[in-house]
Symmetry: C2
Subunit: 322 residues, 2 copies
Amino acid sequence: MINQLITKIKETGAPIVVGLDPMLKFVPEHLKKKAYAEFGETLEGAGEAIWQYNKEIVDNIYDVVPAVKPQIAMYEQFGIPGLVVFKKTVDYCKQKGLVVIGDIKRGDIGSTSEAYAVGHLGKVTVGSKSCYGFDEDFATVNPYLGSDGVKPFIKICKEEKKGLFILVKTSNPSSGEFQDRLVKAQAAEEQSVGQGSLPDRPLYEIVGEQVAKWGEEHMGDSYSYIGAVVGATYPEMGKILRKIMPKSYILVPGYGAQGGKGKDLVHFFNKDGLGAIVNSSRGIIAAYQQEKYASFGPEHFGEASRAAVLDMKKDIGEALDS
Amino acid sequence: MINQLITKIKETGAPIVVGLDPMLKFVPEHLKKKAYAEFGETLEGAGEAIWQYNKEIVDNIYDVVPAVKPQIAMYEQFGIPGLVVFKKTVDYCKQKGLVVIGDIKRGDIGSTSEAYAVGHLGKVTVGSKSCYGFDEDFATVNPYLGSDGVKPFIKICKEEKKGLFILVKTSNPSSGEFQDRLVKAQAAEEQSVGQGSLPDRPLYEIVGEQVAKWGEEHMGDSYSYIGAVVGATYPEMGKILRKIMPKSYILVPGYGAQGGKGKDLVHFFNKDGLGAIVNSSRGIIAAYQQEKYASFGPEHFGEASRAAVLDMKKDIGEALDS
């Protein structure tokens, strides 16, 4: 799947993933009106509105980007009807040839992580049959519980040739509260490099090193199936993490609405022009609400999203060229 | 809700939460046979089997424990039909008067955490209506993203008088990989205690301190609505964390199947005999598969679960008395 993602990035020339994170305030009134008329102001009505919204966006972008990243929280907030739309969205995007990164940020102890991995990336055994639950291509994972929370995901990824993006340094303002804390080197680490006293380093670097190690367990042709999440809002840290995890694809959130700019992104890429895929969510899916794309009007919100993707591609392309 | 949980703990004399973590290997053959005959060897068939299994366990324990903790991963592995059963289980347990702790370990950046909080603890606005998604009483939360990943949960908890248990030191063998790393004190921390050089401390203590601070924002009568998760498998760390978070209820997983024993638990409680609630999952729900309770037979698995709860209550009671 990492090979397929890279092939599609090369084909489209767009190291871009569109975050399908529908909030009702992004959905144009005409879609909400129609959905509520049919299903009422209910969870089902909300589900129908976001499904029609997603579908039109996907129809307008599927040929210019390699991947989408539905954020499951935005569906889970609508309970079961929301999750039904999450599943429909995953299936529809795959039909359209898009790589689907499930932004689920799961992570638990061993057998529980395995259940999440089975549900999102693998298949579950029921009697003599195997059944797929959500069946995304990649999933994001939270590493706070350590190796035995992550390895069950890797096991399923190996079976299914799927991949992960593990949280290393997140894009939000308070990500430093724990992730940036300076950590002492352990004796084993000092022995392994033959040095008496290694300097203190931020936790995200330690996590990044672990991601690189996990990545060696499941390599694709040129990059690992096991990638990392590093926020565009922290370009200097991205530079260091790029070196710590040379074979890990980096999923970079935080571009656009969260403040990350094209020029901030260069450090996340390797010299081969690969190694990173940049996410934009509301900057694309709610483009029609921005002044820049307002002329499309709410009726043509999908076309506004396409224009925003093409502008983003240009912005990143120029930054990488310079 | 924390007041209600404490009242129910006092009433039952059982600081116990039963983990409703159904795996198909725990479900007696007669239930699976019946469910598969009706729905086939499908996700729906698996869902029906675990629903009937849960229901019989709940019917046998609801009057002797204060709370249950369904682990959502065990439902999510069966896709939408599994999550439908998660929701049915939450609703059924609440009808039976049980406090429901959704073991969801969610956590993300601000607006996304808010969507999770809304979906699991609050209500979502659809047009002019408010709708409940999953509607548990408490949820577990992963703190890796820092305050702006946690505060949206606290905001919704305040609105709904609900609570959280935040991961501090998890019960799994590799939890130390990141959680135990020794962290340097920050200048602000040293200034706040007026000391020039504070000693290095493990990350879980830093997270524990933050939980105590977050807890002050949403206090119940004697304990905070914001609790912590600390594994029974690490009793010495539990002792320290008990002091760091005196007003936080501690949810203690790892008793039983994971190796934690009654005597390990005493440090998690305060002198008032309160402050902790101990989880057991397979030790209770799959009790009939243990030699000790085998005489009940698979047909009477619910009664075996009740017997296991009563034995656990005795074990903890004796440990606390001594």
